[in-house]
Symmetry: C2
Subunit: 348 residues, 2 copies
Amino acid sequence: MSRPMSDPAPHLVRVLKGERSERPPVWFMRQAGRYLPEYRALRAQAPDFVSFCLNPEMAAEATLQPMRRFPFSAAIVFADILLIPQALGQQVRFEAGEGPRLGALPSVEAMRERTEGAGEALSAVGETLSRVRAALEPDRALIGFAGAPWTVMTYMLDGEAREDRAMARRHAYEQPETVDALLEVMVEATAHYLAMQARAGAQALQLFESWAEGLSDELFRRLVIEPHRKLVARVRELGVDVPLIGFPRGCGALAEDYAAAVPVDAVALDTAQPLALGRRIQQGRTIQGALDPVLLRAGGPELDRRVEAYLEAWGQGPYVFNLGHGIFPDTPIAHVEQVLARVTGERP
Amino acid sequence: MSRPMSDPAPHLVRVLKGERSERPPVWFMRQAGRYLPEYRALRAQAPDFVSFCLNPEMAAEATLQPMRRFPFSAAIVFADILLIPQALGQQVRFEAGEGPRLGALPSVEAMRERTEGAGEALSAVGETLSRVRAALEPDRALIGFAGAPWTVMTYMLDGEAREDRAMARRHAYEQPETVDALLEVMVEATAHYLAMQARAGAQALQLFESWAEGLSDELFRRLVIEPHRKLVARVRELGVDVPLIGFPRGCGALAEDYAAAVPVDAVALDTAQPLALGRRIQQGRTIQGALDPVLLRAGGPELDRRVEAYLEAWGQGPYVFNLGHGIFPDTPIAHVEQVLARVTGERP
């Protein structure tokens, strides 16, 4: 388990590859975001959210902001899971306080023609990654990411974020051929997008399957497991050798099926995944998660207790400390400091 | 497994008590509801939803409507999980198209004084049950129900149905004493409410924990498992001997912990619970569920295939066929007929 002194890989990367460490590396989903006053000030300078994501100077600054404040082990590139539909020719707008609205879905054929160029179309994200990598200390990792095919498709098919995400799966039942064809398009486009990010400096890549909730085992296999397997294989074919993290959020009892079937390097767990389940997955894989951001927001001694519970239960195996869901915008910064002090063992 | 010819208990009740049968009994969550034109006509006659629920004549009619159309094995009393706050002195209004809005939360002391009288305060529901029991064939069971303490509290504490139910658990972190005191009040009031329903003719009782999603194992134990254990014990103390069904919706990998810890007669499973997990719980308990109502709404050969998958995987053990979540209002009646024909083995 001890590493040669010459291994230059950042802590996070080594742990994602299966190395155990006395203290887990740590980063937070949405660590670059609205809970930071400097983020809000920066965001106010951009005309809209998509322009903000695609402006490398601004996006790099947003990515680096939490790294200046906190001892996070990794930065995650500031971007959005809905940049892919944009690259495939479907318009995306973010209305203030309303969530995303998407334009008409292009034909599968039209989108298929754009899959190979998806990385190039989003080269602004690559530029952001290069800038961040140049500015970041070598022992801190840089993470790239994409939305997983099914999750992004729920937005593409519905045109907007519906309150009841469960209804998105009606498409899988009602127009199976379209859904299966679209899944293939998404796998291919996402693979090229992730490969571009790795070339631009991402040292790990996370796949966000944010809407894996409520799927039967059969549908989970069809919409999540199989596309993730294909995507991992395709990303490797394209020459990507950085570790991959899969995050099937809300998949409940199916997390172990996911871990068994999808050859990602690490499985990220959501707030509802029990400590015992994490330990079982950890027998063969690095795990990441799963502190409740609602508890992070609440703070107090209960927060300390739960952080200790994760460190004790999961700290023995390869483990990346993280939240089980993105940080809430009204989270006090002092609570983030409180958790990081405990995880890193250093006073803030 | 064969029963004496003299056993007068309805099919559903026998299976809830662990009997296996060649064909499972079947009922659907929200089988009395808006997908039925006769329901919509009846509902239009009541000034508001709470009055509708508390009008025994109307509520009995709503309960019986699906029983006239379909070969369901059981009726479930038409009522709402938010009648309990009403009985405890918190005002509840249902705004058309908006979901419930609750008035100011009374003090815990004020509510505690009303727990014992909660059944009496909702005697209209008892009257509905008596009417339905008198009208229903003896081999078809009558089910009563209540919302589980935590689920009902999420509405009581927030005052309205928030889009993001996850935030309800902030109360458990931020005001633990209030939440724990309120849980006790809810256990006691719900026990009296359920006991009243059993006395009025309910032959089985279901506990709806509709918001068990996203809870860590620790929080699930505190907000769901422990209150359910206490509630089951208290209901038994009050002399109730009908079978109890627990439905911890969205609890994912924690379903097995629930089944192991809570002595309900049957565990209802949601759409995301895998066939294999159901079979494991079935070793010691009756299970109920878990057809996806999104698939029921979609219909087609895929619906038949999935019904067969449940019958094949779960039909060997004690099993009640049901949905994994309530039926959607825009579900075609022909799809309900299609499923029932397959489950009962009779053409519609």
